[in-house]
Amino acid sequence: MSAGSGRLPRPYLRRPSAWWWLGRWTYLTFMLRDFSCVFMAYFVVVTLLQIRALGNGPEAYAAFEAHLRNPLLIVLNAISLLFVVYHAVTFFNAASTATVVRVGGKRVPDFYITLPNYIAWAAASVVVAWLVLRA
């Protein structure tokens, strides 16, 4: 017990540094996962530009397609695809922790929540690809 002056002891608290997310592999993967939303927003912008070009006629659309052939954009799109896929995989995992489905009093294992998500992902991709390519 501290005697005498009656002053409270001065505790020590170290605040996290701005680089806290580099301190642990799982912190870094978390930051990367969350950063994936930037690449989503980027491709939404690309899609908006695509829709605008479509509305402005064949020359405008041809110009849009020519821009997309720029190697820098190809690389950016490839990186975006990786990040968006990373988001999808982690998002489906998160969905299985958040949803609790009980059948007959027992909790349905995570696998049966995640699997329908992957099936929906595959099905949606196939449908979109088919609609776009069949022309």
Partner: protein
């Protein structure tokens, strides 16, 4: 007793946007961002694509595709910035700018899709 937060609304949008982005963005990036520009797959002609997009269901689909992921970005990036850069005190302006951008993108998508000939 403090009022309950309205965060559930932005979290719901975040969740919906996350699902749309997860299910649909990959195939869009794969086709329009990589396969067609690189010539790996034959890209549809302008007329074919226009005919597809003209359909009201496609317009609704594209509206959802362009709107919800932006709200997902707004919610998520706001936390990335405030946690990563530790600028929690700026959260007021950040919220306005980010969600404002998402709303702007949504309005823009509606406008562009409405005006497809």
């Amino acid at each position: 007793m403090e009022k309950r937060s309205n965060e559930p609304l932005s979290w719901a949008l975040f969740g919906a946007g996350g699902i749309v982005a997860a299910l649909l963005l990959p195939i869009h990036i794969l086709l329009f961002g990589l396969a067609f520009p690189l010539g790996l797959l034959g890209s549809p002609s302008y007329q074919e694509l226009l005919a597809l997009v003209r359909h009201p269901l496609t317009r609704i689909y594209l509206f959802i595709l362009c709107s919800l992921p932006l709200f997902h970005w707004a919610h998520r990036f706001r936390y990335t910035i405030s946690d990563g850069l530790q600028v929690k005190h700026l959260s007021g302006p950040i919220v306005v700018i980010f969600y404002g951008a998402a709303i702007y993108g949504t309005v823009l998508a509606a406008y562009l899709l409405w005006h497809i000939p």
